[in-house]
């Protein structure tokens, strides 16, 4: 099976935070963005919103930083998992990730990161504008490449409309 991943288009994100709420509902049965694996980062005075979550790195620094070898990338699903039996709660993984992919659940007091909802991520499903897409990595990369080329080399094209039409 081709590897799939979550892709974010910050231009499309309206900042509504439905992704956070559905994530917390899925994982905790409560509505609480503080327990969400995805977070929308905002720069309100510039109108910027960026949803961000664990990128499921091929060579995860969080796993390297873990003193207990509790973090592993699942070969089959591509998801980076924490073995909570081994985890001692040192939070080194939070510090090691250069992108802030790991967060902390303040209620259960444990590190948390995206698990792709077992293969059908609800954040992508609920996103009203298609700002979060769960797609095959190689195809998405080409799609993004096409967008980039269109933006910089074919200025006459309205790339936004083309991408939307393709969804």
């Amino acid at each position: 099976m081709a590897e799939k991943a979550l892709f974010v288009d910050m231009e499309k994100c309206t900042g509504c935070r439905l992704c956070e709420i559905v994530c917390s509902l899925q994982h905790t049965n409560t509505c609480n963005p503080a327990r969400s694996r995805i977070n929308v980062m905002k720069w309100e005075e510039d109108g910027i919103n960026v949803p961000f979550m664990c990128q499921q790195c091929e060579d995860p620094l969080c796993a390297q930083a873990c003193p207990m070898n509790a973090i592993e990338k699942d070969e089959e699903t591509g998801v980076i998992r924490t073995d909570y039996e081994k985890c001692i709660g040192c939070r080194m993984c939070i510090m090691a990730c250069p992108m802030g992919g790991t967060t902390f659940d303040p209620i259960e007091k444990k590190v948390i990161r995206c698990d792709l909802c077992g293969g059908d991520p609800l954040c992508a499903k609920i996103c009203p504008t298609g700002a979060i897409v769960f797609g095959e990595v190689d195809r998405m990369a080409l799609e993004i490449k096409r967008k980039g080329v269109e933006r910089f080399f074919i200025p006459a094209k309205d790339y936004g409309r083309i991408i939307e039409g393709g969804n």
Partner: protein, 651 residues
Amino acid sequence: MSEKYYGWAGTILDVNLSDNNIKKIPLPMELARKYIGGSGLMASILYRDVGPEIDALSDKNLTMIAQGPLSGTIVPSSGRYEIYARSPLTGIIGRSNGGGFFGPELKWAGYDVIIVRGESKAPVYLWIDNEEVEIRDAGHLWGKDTWETQRIIREELGDHNIQTLKIGPAGENLCFNSCVIGDLSRAAGKNSIGAVWGAKKLKAIAVRGSKGVNIARPNDLYDLSMKLMERAKKDPLYAIHTSVGSPGWVSDPLAKKAWAKEERLQEIMSDKFENHFDKNLSCYGCPLHCSHWYTVKEGKYKGVKGEGLEGNAVIYGGMVEKIYNSAFICAYNTLCNKLGLHIDHPGCAISWAMDLYENGIITKADTDGIELTWGNEEAVLTLTKKIAHREGFGAVLDGYPIRAAEQIGRGSDKYISHVKGNPGRGPGIELSLEWTLALAVATRGRDHLTGAPWITTPGYFPELMPQKHLEKLGRERFGDADAIAKPWKVSPSKAKYVYDLENICSICDMTGVCKFMSEYTLYNEGIHLDDFVSLLSAATGENFTAEDLVEAAERQLLTERSYNARAGLGRDDDYPNAFDWEEKRGEPHPLYEGKLPITLKDYDAVLDYYYEVRGVDKESGQPLEEKLKSVGLEEIVEDLKKRKIISKKKQ
């Protein structure tokens, strides 16, 4: 997050700024069930604690902020907050509603309602960090605009995810035009509650919550919410919300309908904002994303940025002053948000003054030397700032409508338009009989958001809502094909139509859901009464019925009507001033001359029908004893009896 509460947070926060006493009161479940939350709970508390003898700007008035049991959940568009106080502007019920992210954050911090009593000697702000509640010095924030205030609070508390409500200079200066601003532009605009905060020296409330909200039946709430989001897409209005937002369904059709002859209006139709709009933005949890990030890219207003440009900004920052410049409207919108001004008010007051100037009632001698000609952009910006600082002629205009007209005299009251002291200038009462009625009977004064229909106004959206469809809706809902389709037909179904819209608006305000997502504007496919029943039951685990929700809405609205009755209001106050003008003065009202196809007698008749369905005495305009008792408001009956106000049904 207390384990026993689902949907509700479970705590009322009661803060007294006079003695710094902070109390946390568990939310009694019987109150939660009876009043639901938001506006329902606060109307009841305001009635109990702030009588008609209390000066709105004194330490005895209180201000409250609440969200509802659906706030901060997965329910679409559940991001509203509601604020209450006795209004300094009108002296009656003061309430307003805003969006953004403050309401949900308050829920996640664990509070359903914040009550702020007393007054501080020096400026303060309230900092709520889950259980920790602190009253902090705001000396360094006083005088700052709303954007700076949020920025400084986040910086000094070291957390970018803090959400804030705050006042700008307008509230500090006890301005009647002032409001409370959430985020950058999420105004709770009506009824001058910013001035109540200013009098209390309360600059801001900052909140951060990580406790979340329990959901009784998470899977059901998820399924229902996803279904409602999907269904809403089928509504004819959905695409207007998601593309241009309220300018597309407020100012565009109003321009076509009310001022069709003015060609320059084309310059401020929603498509003319395309150059300024960079991307869509939304409030919490909202698939409609009706807001935009805008930046003005060239010309005089180059560099202006902001968000949340609503149809009313186009009306009050453009249409009423005859300014046909979309870049100016962006500038006006951002200015009002930063100063903490209700976007409608300066536009009302300044356009009124322009009317007076044109008619020679006032001159440059009155206006601090400002040339108040129609379309004068510079004059509008200067006066808007003067209003916020209550300087010179700005201080006079701040008193619009009644106080300003009294101060100027010279027949200037001929040109004001208001209901119960709450101003208006834009189109409204001349659109249809249901508009007239809804604007006039609204408990907080002239009000376009608590029962006035938009989408279903005949001729408003001739393509999306053709006459045949309106007839069908009328038949389905009221058994009367004319109820909606014939704009000026006096009938009981007209009154029932307004009554239903008022109830659904009240249910939105009690639960914390945006009216734009409800059947109020998505009349076909929005969240309907039955959906609210399912959502509330799934979120809270309590079994609500449609009757329960309608009764709760009646309870809120009758509590507010009783509040106003206690302040001396009655039937006479349920008229738009244009209607009885002619009768009283023997001359037509200059603003509505020839625009009203019905007479005072027709309006009297439909008001009678409305009173019948709302449970109000036709003679006095006060709630009937039997009706109040039937919705469990015995305490109000006792209070009104003591004050010799209550009415028994005439046999």
